[in-house]
Symmetry: C2
Subunit: 354 residues, 2 copies
């Protein structure tokens, strides 16, 4: 899109308290909304590049590695605000993490919003401020954007699509097909908090416990992990579909078996209780600040120590291993000593979790 830029002196504070269709029309009302809510928040001095595209010097990017990484994600989470985060924080973390798990240093994000007519401008400001704060924490720029407004009822409040570019470190080769028998599986902390927090925030349960989403940018943690375990095979963020989806993809793509230990899965008692009440399987619960990493056995201790030394990895644990038996299958040793197959979720456990 074109982001028309006004000299700061010509900017007008928005007079509307809610977003109207005029704010998506390509005229001066849209310009005022973008200036007042997004540009002033996303760029330090309230000024953005006057062109409709962000530009980056390729030679400067090459200083970080040899491959450009490119990934996108739409966010439709309901509710917009929840304990531990909001749709804006989620939209930044989700794409930063998608870049980082591929071994890329995240560089910049784009942000395309679709707004329902009638959304309070103050809500949009809060979301934009949260995006800006999270982007700063992750060390990425929000470099370009787009704004659309649809009539009341044509979307539910606010959807955000972020797309990210990053640069993959030279010589690093992580991938879902790279696991080998003997490799070790680690996670960086407690599982299921995001899914439980969203469900709880919807208020259907009125539980006393205040479970917070684990939503966080993981690129700093991943830098440290890669330094400690340079032979690392794979990383994935365990978002929609949870840990179960990631380990099943891994087993299939690498043609290996995966063996998990239920007793080793780090999980809050509240989340386990929550799942029992609702008949949910915590292995399928979404996380927004957790990665599953696969490392060769000789690097497992160093990887675990590195994760635990980082604030976002204090509860890190080894949760399983890669085997040669039953390629394509994930088996969990249960807390009662038995075994069960962990299949990929077929349908939908929880809609609009991210």
């Amino acid at each position: 899109m074109n982001i028309p830029v006004l000299p700061p002196t010509r900017r007008r504070p928005l007079s509307h308290k809610t977003v109207t269709l005029a704010h998506g029309g390509g005229g001066s009302a849209m310009r005022d909304l973008i200036d007042d809510v997004f540009l002033a928040t996303f760029s330090g001095d309230g000024r953005a590049a006057p062109e409709d595209q962000a530009r980056f010097d390729l030679a400067a990017l090459m200083a970080h590695g040899d491959r450009l990484a490119f990934t996108t994600d739409g966010f439709v989470v309901d509710p917009l605000f929840f304990p531990g985060g909001d749709i804006g924080k989620l939209a930044v973390c989700g794409t930063v993490n998608d870049l980082a798990v591929g071994g890329a240093t995240p560089m910049a994000l784009s942000c395309a919003v679709i707004i329902e007519e009638g959304l309070p401008v103050e809500t949009l400001r809060q979301v934009a401020a949260s995006m800006a704060e999270t982007a700063r924490a992750a060390g990425v720029a929000i470099a370009t954007g787009d704004t659309k407004v649809v009539a009341r009822g044509a979307c539910d409040k606010l959807f955000i699509t972020t797309t990210g570019i990053g640069v993959v470190r030279r010589g690093l080769d992580v991938g879902i097909a790279r696991a080998r028998p003997g490799d070790v599986l680690l996670v960086n902390g407690l599982l299921g908090d995001h899914g439980a927090a969203i469900l709880n925030a919807r208020g259907d349960l009125a539980l006393e416990t205040a479970i917070e989403s684990d939503c966080a940018p993981l690129n700093g943690l991943i830098d440290i992990l890669i330094a400690a375990a340079p032979g690392i095979r794979m990383m994935r963020d365990a978002t929609r579909g949870g840990v179960a989806a990631v380990v099943n993809e891994l087993a299939e793509a690498s043609a290996v078996g995966v063996r998990l230990k239920e007793l080793s899965l780090p999980m809050r008692a509240e989340v386990m209780g929550f799942c029992e009440i609702l008949g949910l399987d915590p292995l399928y619960l979404a996380n927004e600040g957790k990665i599953l990493a696969v490392v060769p056995p000789e690097e497992a201790d160093a990887a675990l120590a590195a994760l635990r030394a980082h604030p976002l990895g204090r509860e890190a644990a080894i949760i399983g291993e890669v085997t040669a038996q039953r390629p394509g299958r994930v088996v969990m040793q249960t807390r009662f000593g038995g075994e069960r197959i962990v299949d990929m979720l077929v349908g939908d456990q929880l809609p609009r979790i991210c």
Copy 2:
């Protein structure tokens, strides 16, 4: 997002005729939808990169220029299909054109879809096929994507966000602030067709005329234009807000006056008639295959000839000039010999035009 990849033999054709919430849940239903509808369509052999991010060799990108361009756009057009195009074609053209007008060679797009539960799978297939066809025509890859499904009523059928990366030619410096007095304004053809086609397709008017959207990827045309007019100052696609928005931004950013000649504006009689009936100003109508270009006077003839030699520029015309008078203002010499100020649109002429 993660695009889980199955070996082709394990792919199952979708059994559902409509999209369900399960198709957005991160499990195997989502994988089947992505495999069957998107991957099979977007990649020639039905296989995509198994990682959740697309990767590009930076050294290979540098062969095309020295700067990476990055831009995003959300598409919420209503109806999804209209004469001359559909939301998929629009989503590819819009982002390809946003890259190209900045002087970038478009390289790849990402595609994030938000689908309303109940959308016929066949509709999604048609849109994906249209995206693939348009991307092929434009010479860009659709390299990565994301799929979300929301409950019935939480969005209107289908929204698509495309984000593009491209490489800006070495030595080329186009920009909205670069116009100088004496420069010449050109467009590559008939104005207002897209806006008129969408309005007509909504069926409120039941006009006999079948106006088609001008929706087209313009990167090929722009290559030829730049070769013919290497001193080119600026290009912009005249989408939301129409020609009026672009010339007003230009006048402001370059601190120049702009003088348009109404009689020189290429426009169909049907579109003019349409605007008269509805009380619309054709200068504000959206285009999806039209650029406004500013070139130095000595290159104007060559630019016009180059545009006219291209199939997407046959009706190209010189429509005005840049002046030193009244910086920031756009004045149009009307067909009756008078003058009027062309201001930026304040509100919204037509919602959900793109």
